[in-house]
Point group: C2
Chain length 332, copies 2
């Protein structure tokens, strides 16, 4: 059935409609009024196309047209609300602007990331957005050579304009919130632990600066051993706390909801000591509010980041300093 039923083309429709392929094409792509084709013929062609199960061959159409209107995005994971929201809103905003969005998920794998970038460029994307890419500059260099616009979201690069959250301020405010709540809930004042992320990542580094500055502003010093940037895995976060059995009050700054899973597990295993622990998390999850001990979360402003990004699509610019978008602090 797939075999004998060859796909219909405009030539097939032209024969059936007793018109030329040109006329059929222009009816189908909506330029028929401009070409002053009769309404009667247009209706007829549309009816026959429907009857025959005709559908455009986008490859042929795009090959002939000068613009593709395709915008590509590379995303590392769909395992948290942040990237899920980015993907959803990116698609919606692209469609609202008459563009065709294509998103691909690369599992934080640098090679897969680059392969995906090459594929998207082959599909003639007009712009390629790298979200949280491990090596945005490699992708940007490739895009430059291919004449495709490159943009970075969530992680800054040197070779393409970047839109990122204001990680420093968000982290500083969250740290202050946790410190305040340790004071008010526990009557305790002291340095927090920092759990999760990688110090080599720009975002983690910026958040750590905010974390340390918030402490410094209150005259607190954070011991080296309190910084546990053990990567992006729940079990690593959990493991990093195994040598920590708080005998008194304590507080934790959790970097990412992935790490939060590990911290919450650790917290749930503490027993009665758990009531002396407060924590907060950089990144948002709707269940976070109901986790015992969690005093607040930082929600990145996905909509604002994407709006900013879309203003740049189509208007090539130099890389420059990253554009910072403020985060929203959610206190519980």
């Amino acid at each position: 059935m797939d075999k004998d039923r060859k796909r219909k083309t405009i030539y097939d429709l032209a024969v059936l409609a007793e018109a030329s392929p040109s006329a059929v094409s222009s009816v189908l792509n909506g330029t028929w009024e401009k070409r002053r084709i009769s309404k009667k013929l247009a209706t007829k062609v549309l009816r026959i196309a429907e009857e025959q199960g005709y559908h455009l061959n986008a490859q042929a159409s795009l090959l002939r047209r000068d613009r593709s209107n395709i915008v590509g995005m590379i995303v590392p994971k769909y395992d948290n609300r942040y990237f899920g929201e980015i993907a959803e809103q990116f698609e919606a905003k692209a469609r609202a602007r008459g563009m065709f969005p294509v998103i691909t998920c690369t599992q934080r794998d640098p090679d897969l990331e680059f392969e995906a970038a090459k594929e998207l460029v082959a599909y003639q994307v007009e712009c390629l957005i790298s979200t949280g890419a491990t090596d945005p500059d490699r992708i940007a260099a490739f895009c430059r050579a291919a004449g495709v616009q490159a943009l970075n979201l969530d992680l800054p690069g040197q070779d393409a304009p970047s839109v990122i959250s204001d990680n420093y301020t968000g982290a500083r405010d969250l740290t202050r919130l946790i410190l305040d709540r340790c004071q008010s809930d526990l009557g305790w004042h002291g340095a927090l632990r920092f759990v999760g992320g990688r110090l080599s990542d720009h975002n983690t580094a910026a958040r750590l600066r905010g974390f340390l500055d918030a402490h410094a502003a209150l005259g607190l010093t954070v011991p080296e051993a309190f910084i546990k940037a053990t990567g992006y895995s729940a079990s690593a976060a959990w493991s990093s706390l195994q040598d920590f059995s708080p005998s008194g009050p304590a507080g934790i700054f959790v970097n990412s909801t992935i790490s939060l899973e590990g911290v919450v597990r650790w917290h749930s295993e503490l027993g009665s000591e758990a009531r002396h622990v407060r924590y907060g998390c950089f990144d948002w999850d709707p269940f976070g509010k109901f986790l015992p001990g969690n005093v607040g979360m930082v929600e990145q402003d996905v909509s604002a980041m994407l709006e900013e990004l879309f203003t740049r699509i189509g208007t090539p610019q130099a890389a420059g300093a990253p554009t910072l978008i403020p985060c929203k602090l959610r206190a519980f």
Copy 2:
């Protein structure tokens, strides 16, 4: 710069490499050994392609080839772990099989769903998978007319083969777990509330049957008013419980993690009565385990569902009865 730097084609490379476009093409697409082109020429062409920032025009290539290798998937949302995992694993499994995955997210909007299906068919997908589509049969009919294979995931359709979770058994087992825990934790035995979903949805209907049968097996009858299938929104779930102030023990079956957000909010606002309430949720979220009162969740077996689905890609079959994949019950 975008203007003067026209994209390189194989003709440009052929001139630079002093070879024919045919030779360049076959070097670039890896068939050069079969064509017994000299290694020397191959190396030269590859080097020049790299230097010139050449990249394939997938549109031209696909237009000429007989197969696209593209598999399309339509997904309603990325706002929970379930669809996020489906998207991630679908991409990974497709790549592992040498296919090119394209996923698009349609916000549970029937029109957007259909538009997206048409776009994917225009892009020459060889197979289109509808995940949790509101109207899978409309999409399947369109695909049939266009000669494209259609498959349904997560929601069954009449017009295309379907792979879905065994919602009935999963719900029955979860109901039994909640009833057991009400007995053991609260010393109480009675009918549970059912919150979330829509009775017109196949999945909700199947889950409700499992829910009712688990009650019946224990000689319990569920009052009509206990069934609150108020849709897929946290606030609707929350609202539906506003007339419910448990003065004694109570239990709730929560249908979907979206509804869980509303139930947990209601639960957190109960005050001391909350300790008399137990609930469980159909669908998995890693934070679920740490929510007070939550006794267990049902995790759908995404990997098994997709493996089953991939066995069907490329081998057209009649619709038939849906294939049921067992769920995993996670007791806390």
